[in-house]
C-alpha cells in the first residue's frame, strides 16, 4: 500500500507510515464527487475544486425486507428536511413512514427524522409481536384464518394513531424547541407525517395509513393508482402537521384492501407534484418498472425522475412490493399484476377519524 500523504510504499497492514508518520489505519477519505481529489476539508469542501461534498443527510436509503425508502435533498433546497423509516412485520408485513420537514423552520431536518424513526419503532413494537420470542400475548397481526381480520385492523389503526402521537412528541421536543432558540425564521420545527402498515391478507393485500399534512400514500396496481390519503391543505397552506405550533395533530386514518398484486408507495410532495393526478403516477411507475425491476431500483428511478424535473423540493419515496404468494418472486408478481390490470380495483376503502 502507498501512504496517501507522502506516497512512500508501506507494507500491507502497516498502521503508520515509516517515512512521514501518517496514520495509515484511518478510514480512507472518499474522493470528491466533482473532481475526484482526495483532499476534503473538515467542513466538507473539496480542497481542490471547492465542491461541497454531499452530507449523509442529503441522500439516505433505508431498506427492510421488501421495503425501500429513499430521501433526497433535490436541487433547490440547501438541506434535506424530508425523512423516512421502514420496517418489517412478521408474516410479510411492512411498516413505512415518510415525514416532510418544513424547510423554513430551523431544526426541521432533525425533527422529521426523529419523528419518522420513533413512529416506525412504535409500530414495530405494537404490531411486531407475532412469534413466541416476544411473548406472544394478545392477538397477532396474522391472526389465523379470520376472513376479514377486523380485530387486527382496529389494532393497526390504533397503533397508527399512537405512532402519530409519538411522532408529534418527537417533533415538538426537538433540541431547537427545548433550547428555546429564537425561531426568527418561521416558528418551531414542523413536519408532515404519513405512516402505513401493509400486510398480506387472504392472498391479497391490506394497507392502513394515517397522515397529517400533504405527504401521500398510494396503492399502485397496473395502470391504476389509488390515492389513500387526502391532503390536509387549504389554499396552499397545511392545516395539520407535526410540531410544537400545530393546532391539530390528530391523524386521519384510512384502510384499503386489494386482491391484486401491486405496490404501496408513500411520498412527499417533492415527488407527487411531478406525477399528479394518481393515474400519472401509475403511468410513471409503469414506464420505469421495465428497466428497474427491483424495488430499490424503482425507488431510485422515481427519485431521479423528480430530480430530472427540477428537484425543486426534497424528495422522499417509500416503496413496498408485497409478496402476495409465499415463495413467489418479483418476476412472477409482475406478470400477475399485468394480468390483473384494470380488474384489480376490487379493494374497499375506508377513510375517517377512528376514535371519534
Amino acid at each position: 500500500m502507498e501512504c496517501p500523504r507522502c506516497s512512500e510504499v508501506a507494507p500491507v497492514g502497516a498502521k503508520w507510515c515509516e517515512a512521514c508518520g501518517a496514520d495509515l489505519s484511518a478510514e480512507p477519505q472518499l474522493p470528491c464527487v466533482s473532481c475526484g481529489d482526495r483532499d476534503i476539508s473538515y467542513d466538507g469542501y473539496c480542497m481542490s475544486c471547492g465542491h461541497k461534498q454531499p452530507e449523509e443527510r442529503d441522500h439516505m436509503v433505508f431498506e427492510a425486507g421488501a421495503t425501500v425508502a429513499i430521501t433526497d435533498r433535490g436541487l433547490r433546497h440547501r438541506h434535506n428536511e424530508d425523512a423516512a423509516a421502514v420496517g418489517q412485520l412478521p408474516g410479510g408485513g411492512a411498516v413505512l413512514v415518510v415525514c416532510d420537514g418544513v424547510s423554513s423552520t430551523p431544526g426541521s431536518a432533525e425533527a422529521s427524522l426523529a419523528a419518522a424513526t420513533a413512529a416506525r419503532d412504535l409500530l414495530i413494537e405494537r404490531l411486531g409481536s407475532s412469534n413466541g420470542a416476544s411473548g406472544g400475548s394478545g392477538p397477532t397481526l396474522s391472526d389465523g384464518p379470520s376472513p376479514t381480520g377486523t380485530g387486527a385492523g382496529d389494532r393497526i389503526a390504533e397503533a397508527l394513531v399512537a405512532s402519530a402521537e409519538v411522532a408529534q412528541a418527537m417533533a415538538a421536543a426537538s433540541p431547537e424547541v427545548v433550547s428555546n432558540a429564537p425561531h426568527s425564521q418561521g416558528g418551531p420545527p414542523s413536519s408532515t407525517f404519513v405512516a402505513a402498515i401493509g400486510r398480506p391478507v387472504d392472498g391479497g393485500t391490506e394497507v392502513s395509513v394515517a397522515w397529517l399534512g400533504d405527504s401521500r400514500a398510494y396503492w399502485i396496481e397496473g395502470a391504476d393508482a389509488v390515492q389513500l390519503t387526502a391532503d390536509h391543505e387549504l389554499r396552499g397552506s397545511l392545516t395539520r402537521w407535526l410540531g410544537a405550533d400545530s393546532l391539530d395533530t390528530h391523524p386521519d386514518v384510512a384502510r384499503h384492501r386489494s386482491r391484486g398484486a401491486g405496490r404501496l408507495l408513500l411520498c412527499s410532495d417533492g415527488l407527487w407534484r411531478y406525477a399528479d393526478p394518481p393515474v400519472e403516477l401509475a403511468a410513471l411507475v409503469g414506464r420505469l418498472e421495465s428497466d428497474h425491476t427491483t424495488t430499490r431500483a424503482l425507488a431510485d428511478a422515481l427519485v431521479a425522475h423528480a430530480v430530472s424535473r427540477g428537484g425543486h423540493d426534497n424528495i422522499t419515496v417509500a416503496l413496498w412490493a408485497p409478496t402476495t404468494d409465499a415463495g413467489s418472486g418479483q418476476q412472477q408478481r409482475t406478470h400477475q399484476r399485468r394480468a390483473d390490470a384494470g380488474g384489480g380495483r376490487a379493494g374497499v376503502q375506508e377513510r375517517g377519524r377512528v376514535d371519534e
Partner: protein, 425 residues
Amino acid sequence: MSDFVAEVFQNEFLPVGAETVDAIVTVRSSGGATGAAPAADVVQMIIIDTSGSMTEEGGRKMRAARDATQAAIDTIRDGAHFAVVGGNGGAYMIYPHEGLAVSDARTRQEAKDRVDRVEAKGGTAIGTWLQAAAYLAGLRPEAIAHAILLTDGKNQHEESWVLDKSIAACVGLFQCDARGLGADWEIEELRKVASALLGTVDIIPRPEDMAAEFTKLTQAAMGREVGSVELRLWTPKGSEIEYVKQVAPTLEDLTGSAKPQNPLTNDYPLGAWSGEEERDYHVRINIPVGGVGDERLAARVMLVVDGVDQPAALVRAVWTDDERLSTRINREVAHYTGQAELADAIHDGLAARDTGDQATATVKLGRAVQIAHEAGHEDTVRLLQKVVEVDDAATGTVRLKRDVDRTDEMALDVRSTRTVRVKKG
C-alpha cells in the same frame, strides 16, 4: 491580544452559468489591550518638508509645521521610539542626532527644542526622505512603525523612478500617512506613497489645521496593537481573483499586493491594526461554473494575525434555477459598488473639467452628487458643492462653478476614496 473576526456578506445564489462571485468581507478587531496590558512596541517617525517653499506666506507654513510636529511629539507615549526627519533635496536628522530616541519627558523636550531651530531651504526629494525612514524603521524590525510625511510641493528634485524604488524599499517596514500642505503638491505622488505603505493621503488646506491633524495621526499610531494582519484567500482550482479592494474606511485596491502562498492561496497585507477597528473588503472571484443545485466554495477567508491563522469565513457559490434567489441584491455589495462608482465619477469629472470638457464634467460630477446623496455621504456632498451648484441632488442635476478654490478641488479629489459604511438595520 485583540480578537479578529471576519464576516462575509454576499448573495451566494448564482443563476445557471454564472461564474462571478462578489462578497464583502468585514474584518473586525476587538478586545484590545486596556490599562495594565503591555503596550505594543511602536516606532513613530515624523518627516517634515523643510524645503525653501515652506518659507512662503511670511513663514506661516514653517511655523505651522513646527507647531504640528511639536504637537505630535507631545502625543508620543513614554517608551515608544521616535525620530524627526527633515526633508529637502536630501534627508537629515532633526532629532535624535542618529537612530531612534526613546520617548520620555526629557527626550520629547529636546526634540521640540530642535524642531524650533529648523530652517527651511533647498528642494524636495521625497524618495530620499522615505529612504531615511526605511533605515530608521529597520533598526527595530519587530516594532509597529509609522511615519507622518508632510510636503508642500512636488517631488521636483529627484527622478520619479527614485521615488518608486524608494517606496518599494519601504513596503513592510513602516506604514505612512502622507499629507500635502496647500495646493502646490501632487496628489498622485502622495497617493502612491500612502497606497503602497498602507496609509492615508489628505490635503491640509490651511497651515493652522496641521497641528490637529498631526496629533490625530500620532494618537492613532499609538493605539496600534497588532503589527501585521493579512487577509488570506484560498480559492478553488481554475478560479481567478478579479480583485481584492479595501472599501471602508477608504477605497484601496489590494489586488496587486497579493503574496502567493501556494497555487490556491494568496495573502493580502492589511497592515497594522488597533484593538478596536473595523474595515470592509470587496472580493470578486471568477470560478468554474457548477451545475444547478451544486455548491462550491468560492473562497475561504482567513486572517493571519502576527503570523498566526485565525478562524475562517466562507464565500460560497450555489447555482440555482430559482430566480427569486439569484436576483437578490446583497445590500453590502451594492453599497460598496456604488461607493466605488462615486469615486470614479469624481475622478473622471475632475479630469474632464481640467481638460475643458464641460459636458462630461457636468454629467460625471452630477452622477457623483446623486450617489453621494443616496448613500447619505454628507462629507462628499459638501465637497462637491464647492465645485458644482447642485440644482437637484436626487437626479444629479448640477452646474459647474466658474471660480473654484484650487484647494477645494484638491480636497474633493483626494477625499473621493473615502467611503461611508452601510447603514445598519
